[in-house]
Symmetry: C2
Amino acid sequence: MSDWAIVLAGGAGTRFWPASRVARPKQLLPLASSEPLLAATVHRMAPIVAPERVVVVTGAHLLDATRAVVPEVPAENFLAEPVPRNTAPAIAWATAEIARRDPDALCMVLPSDHFIAKPDAYIAAVKTALDGARRGYLTTLGIKPSRPETGFGYIEVGKEIAPHVNEAARFVEKPSLEVAQKYVASGNFLWNAGMFFYAAKAMNEALAEHLPDVASKAVECLQASALGRVFPTMQSISIDHGVMEKAKRVAVVPGDFGWSDVGSWQSSWELADKDDAGNAAPEGAIVIDGKNNLVWDRTGSGRTYALVGVSDLVVVETEDAVLIVPRERAQDVRLAVERLKSAGSKRV
Amino acid sequence: MSDWAIVLAGGAGTRFWPASRVARPKQLLPLASSEPLLAATVHRMAPIVAPERVVVVTGAHLLDATRAVVPEVPAENFLAEPVPRNTAPAIAWATAEIARRDPDALCMVLPSDHFIAKPDAYIAAVKTALDGARRGYLTTLGIKPSRPETGFGYIEVGKEIAPHVNEAARFVEKPSLEVAQKYVASGNFLWNAGMFFYAAKAMNEALAEHLPDVASKAVECLQASALGRVFPTMQSISIDHGVMEKAKRVAVVPGDFGWSDVGSWQSSWELADKDDAGNAAPEGAIVIDGKNNLVWDRTGSGRTYALVGVSDLVVVETEDAVLIVPRERAQDVRLAVERLKSAGSKRV
């Protein structure tokens, strides 16, 4: 049973505008360290998955840019979706492709746009999750929650199956703050970080049972001639809704490895190297009477930044756009993107 | 008696960093309208002074950049100071040069880095000041104060000499706030805006009396071969201290023509075209939940600015430097420049 990684790299999003664009989404950007999130995702798996067994699913329009970020992954391991159809079709297609090459494969599904501060602890948790997968469970990693986050799904931990492997009693969608607070207090709920570990055969059986149309179309999509016609007809549904919530043998492995979904510029600031005043800024920047600012410059101009008397600010500079927003309003970047879209701007 | 203008364009300064630099001082920048302040200074005099009678005094290191801004002024009308020596030597030299060409000249000394919103009212005041000059007075324009500014000198208005022309009873240096408040309340004090009007003969007599060394060296400097040797030996002193405060026949003409010394980015914001929310920003900029911001972009990149949830901010972008500072702290730009200087930065 060889281990294969399916890296989901088709994401779009506006929360990192102006760094992120339709043609340059979050996973292709170095938002948490010096390498793009996608590259970091592949590199941190290196101890257990060689690049030859990494399959990257991305959008057709992102294919070239995605390949450029992980050139060590063979060209035939990139699966280009003609249109986005959420995670279930992507995972079904990639799993079918891996099963074609290696019917006894163990697969791990990995988001490409998260950050992990403790890669060794992560690899240890992944190995445990692969144990669960070997036992026939659709296994997920659950993150010990550090706050009552309402933006994530939660997984209720059930009875123990093996050391550090528990049944997943329940998948819960994004809860209210009140419910999230109860979950965190209970100690029995983990964040769903969208990482899944399974034997290809087990997932294919679960897909056949719960998403039979997706399952059969995924196999059709192995024929290049069918892809453009069939893929767009697949149901757009997440693997969580489509399979994990319904499948019988589902397990969860608790993990604590400095995970972040890098959800906004606020996260990027949290993860950045900062000076004593909490400022993360390009080399040579001057900050006077200011703290906890993030200056993120991708202009390549090596410009000198001077911040005088400003704090808790995010400043993002690219060649054709500049964003200035308080850290606590980092999520509102989408308002600017919406405004630009409705104004017909190409810079989104 | 022909009218000549002496435009003082040798100023340096740090308050408009990063737009202003040692090699690109304030007067060469479009800080209050679409044309550089120096160009606006020359253009607004056009109704009464042809470019052939405009003499521009600047620093040798600024000569080329200064000529480029007012190409209509003949090359032989630029006087390049080898070193800065404050206003008295500059004015003495320019007055000597004009007197050499036109012994009966009437001169007007004009700072090159101020803004005037009402050019017609200004020209009317200038004509009145020239009346004073024709009567043999060293005449200055005094600005009706709109606030108890402690950064300007004041002129006490004395008895009337002619319609709208009064004796200047007293020149006062930058006062304390308490004193400034009294001055404004009295209605009898005007701001000294550094504009002077005089017959070349009258100024030369006053210089000979109060600054005899400067007066004789200024004449020596008419010989190009003497300039580099003699000019640096002149006393560095302002015309206010050196002559105006001491001379006997000194007049003041009150003026109210929308004058601004364009003293900081705050002034630049005040003078800029703004939208309904008080934002002055490049075309295409988006401001969401923000008001009274100034975005000043000289990168020439036509970038899209998005400000979300920030107000009262100054953002200045050049090709090699970026400044972000609250409007009310605009004066503190000098702190950043000092820091850069001590760090050995070339970007000052």
